[in-house]
Symmetry: C2
């Protein structure tokens, strides 16, 4: 799986895998590339160009949580299952998310002011409205990435590193993550394209297939050193045990993991990236919508899990919102639906 | 320009015309089809498949405002330039938008309760927060389409039609609009695919090139009957004179029309549709992002207007945010930029 990474993506279009229907016509189309890979690096299923490098964005947060557990930091500070789940989250800023991050940082001797992720209003509308009504302003604990950042800070404190500047590429926290991404993805990443994420940390270009391979190694970690393998198992179990912490009310990650308990750990990211790990099959999944559309990546994740048998016929019938979500207008009328194309349909 | 409309769009990919850069790499790509057409039906410029039928969504609101002016309803109820502009709007629900719609409906003997568009919170964050703080709930006047709906109701009252049910396909208001769309686009629309819009009115499938032709006829209406020609001129002039009413603070329509005063009337729509009319050149523009992304359609509109010379070198230099908008993260750092591809770059 060790590959040279290309910086130019060919202009060959990825296949249309998700269709947006309105009335009698397809209104919009989403092209995606998808890799399903096992822990030996074998490609089990693929759609589109899975060799193209992408930024994994928040979809690789399960990988970025490895040092928190592997280093012993999580045990030293007595992190709960919910807190480990939150370390992988793009949460909606609901009170339970924010209160958990705040209390966790306090146990480590830090506060929201030590987070370097910037502040933003909660994604969750009722939580946002409650804050506005109460005359509150968001702080950095409300940032959807605050759990990941709390994990970075906790690891730095545990290892005696400076906490200031932990989002910089050169900081030991980020260099340690680079090493983990290299080992898990099977790619040398020293000279590859990079950029800065919405929360300020580096983003690193890794091919789709290698990103899926990294998730597969989490799902089936028996080849890994014992401490890393244990960390991978514990992170995925935490996500599946506390799916609310990974996202929040009405969010796709939370809904799907709640609908099929303990069968898959999935994580969304910006710009149409979606990753998943299926421990029972030892498989990793990486999805990238060419256009960056999250709605497309969600529908694709549902159908990939259908293809793999992870979502059963019964579960699919019980949860059409995960596979062919409705589009409603402001008056509540159903005006359309997202559907898989013939290439993706199960 | 009278064409048979196909319901199946070929799977040939539209060209990548807008790139989303982050750091050293393109992160996402948008494919678009674009037609620039004159009032004789000649295609001046084209990208992608301009024969594909699309729903014009809110981007064709300038066409949907024609009956309001042409019927004499606007004059009977003394509509101001700002109110006519608002009849073409997808506004942000700022106080001036909502107050104007409310006062206008009152003059017609109606209220927000007569609007059949559903209610939603303002798009404009400060206006939303002010309402939440004051314990207010949005009513139908806050709906971004409330100006268009007020125009429909005003026309119905003027012509002695029932106001109830004016969003239904069979209602005289919608049948009149169907006739206008047929005449302006040069298409027979009786049996084409249709659906329901976010605000409840019918959406009708019209090819991209014919949609651009309809806008071209507005921009250069000398072929049209005198009353319709006058209505077209007055609507476009109102949009250009009151660009705030078409959208709102920091919105692309408002920003661009403010930056290049009286040179083009442009209107965004859902699912990546963008229409424009350039009176000085007698041209109409229709843009459709295959994936429905508004951010792509905006950048494309800017570059099409550059290609046409409507945005000058000086204006382009003064307004980079209209052509290559920055992407910033929560901490305010510039992390990326939208750019035209080589195929669209001027």
């Amino acid at each position: 799986m060790n590959r040279e990474i290309r910086t130019e993506i060919p202009q060959d279009a990825a296949p249309v895998l998700v269709e947006v229907w309105r009335g009698q016509m397809i209104e919009s189309r989403h092209r995606l590339s998808i890799a399903v890979v096992d822990a030996h690096g074998g490609v089990v299923r693929g759609w589109g160009d899975i060799e193209q490098p992408i930024y994994g964005r928040s979809a690789i947060k399960p990988l970025l949580a490895i040092p928190l557990v592997e280093s012993g930091a999580a045990d030293r500070f007595g992190l709960s299952v919910a807190e480990i789940s939150l370390a992988t989250a793009s949460h909606s800023g609901e009170p339970r998310h924010v209160d958990t991050v705040t209390a966790w940082l306090q146990r480590v001797g830090l506060s929201a002011d030590d987070l370097e992720c910037g502040a933003h209003w909660p994604y969750h509308e009722a939580s946002l409205h409650a804050m506005v009504k109460a005359g509150q302003e968001p702080n950095r604990a409300h940032n959807n990435c605050s759990g990941k950042h709390a994990g970075f800070l906790t690891t730095a404190v545990h290892l005696g590193e400076a906490t200031k500047g932990y989002i910089q590429y050169e900081h030991p926290v980020q260099q340690r993550l680079l090493g983990i991404l290299e080992q898990m993805s099977g790619c040398e990443l020293g000279g590859v394209p990079r950029g800065i994420d919405g929360c300020g940390i580096p983003v690193i270009a890794i091919p789709i297939a290698n990103t899926a391979f990294a998730l597969a190694q989490m799902a089936d970690p028996h080849h890994l050193p014992e401490k890393r393998a244990a960390a991978c198992r514990r992170i995925l179990q935490a996500m599946m045990a506390e799916p609310f912490m990974v996202a929040g009310t009405d969010r796709y990650c939370t809904r799907l993991m709640t609908a099929i308990p303990d069968k898959a750990a999935i994580k969304t990211g910006a710009e149409g990236v979606y990753c998943g790990a299926v421990p029972s099959l030892g498989l990793g999944i990486c999805i990238k919508a060419e256009d960056g559309a999250g709605r497309a990546a969600e529908v694709a994740m549902g159908h990939v899990l259908r293809h793999l048998g992870v979502i059963t016929d019964g579960e699919a019938a019980a949860h059409p919102e995960l596979l062919t979500p409705e589009i409603r207008n402001w008056a509540g009328t159903v005006t359309g639906r997202l559907k898989p194309s013939a290439d993706l349909a199960f």
